[in-house]
Symmetry: C2
Amino acid sequence: MPDPIDFYFDFSSPYGYLTSKRIDAIAEKFGRSVTWRPHLIGAVFKTTGSQPLLNIPMKGDYARRDIPRTARRMGVPFRLPERFPFASVAAGRAFYWLNDRDPGKAKDLAKALYHRAFGEGEDISGGDSVVAVAAAQGIDADELQAALADPTVKERLKHEVEVAVERGVFGSPFVFVDGEPFWGNDKLTEVEHWLETGGW
Amino acid sequence: MPDPIDFYFDFSSPYGYLTSKRIDAIAEKFGRSVTWRPHLIGAVFKTTGSQPLLNIPMKGDYARRDIPRTARRMGVPFRLPERFPFASVAAGRAFYWLNDRDPGKAKDLAKALYHRAFGEGEDISGGDSVVAVAAAQGIDADELQAALADPTVKERLKHEVEVAVERGVFGSPFVFVDGEPFWGNDKLTEVEHWLETGGW
């Protein structure tokens, strides 16, 4: 069984949301699985001199047009939350807490959180809103609420973000196929081609 | 006859070079022509808080891997010039000077300059090197040398850069199809799809 594909994404990234809709299906075509790895792109903004995409003059205007246009082409529902950019720390913590118990359920939770944020345009920044989405997936609300405040869980996300930075992940989405890095939703065609050919 | 496609590019942009290898053929499939419009991406670096791509921590390392990889996939020769990033003002001035006389020859010159810079990895930053490439294309060296110092020609490029900024062009390559903007070499598949469908 070949290694899983690593899919890095930030829960507050619209392009990460778009990639989340396709990455598993692309991998499956080539008998590959995908490890979902939420991170926090803000962690490298200082290093790369960047800032939240939609706040950048000119580039932000373009992205506001390109994101819904790309979503339409992909047939994916899209609605930008009123509060944007938003904090994705609670979502990331909830994901890794659940992932250590049941990776399948964690992936379902990630999909539900992304849908809530960018399919419906609702707020998922606060712990309460994350817990509400999780509860609708059958996750115990009290347990998750406690986990979000647990230093071990906080440390877990922090560690994952550090690993992402060490691996050179500076944006979202960011995909590794057998160590080969691909940045951006627009790279999915190349990701697929790499999987198909084994590289070029 | 439908409007031409606008292809904005900076002569010092590797991704612009890659797009230059495909844009005409893509347009031609749909009976469209392409207006080549060199600009200077540095003009908006202050506005967007950006800097030359390969100088950006993390992102630069990624680009150094992605550019040759994309070139290999496209079957395009690629070699990064030793002096990079480099000034592209002389190349831009030469282009517009020639373009006002013979757009076909200007496009050929652009291709030759791009080939020199990123196909062979040679320096095209100085006026002399631009004139040498142009002379090999049958352009009068003395005339071009004089044009590069002509205030009218300088103003011509400056004006084109200003128009580009007004149109929201913040990167290279940047393509408009019937007013619809597409940024980046990775967007060529969507450019093609837009031409095919008339938009979505």
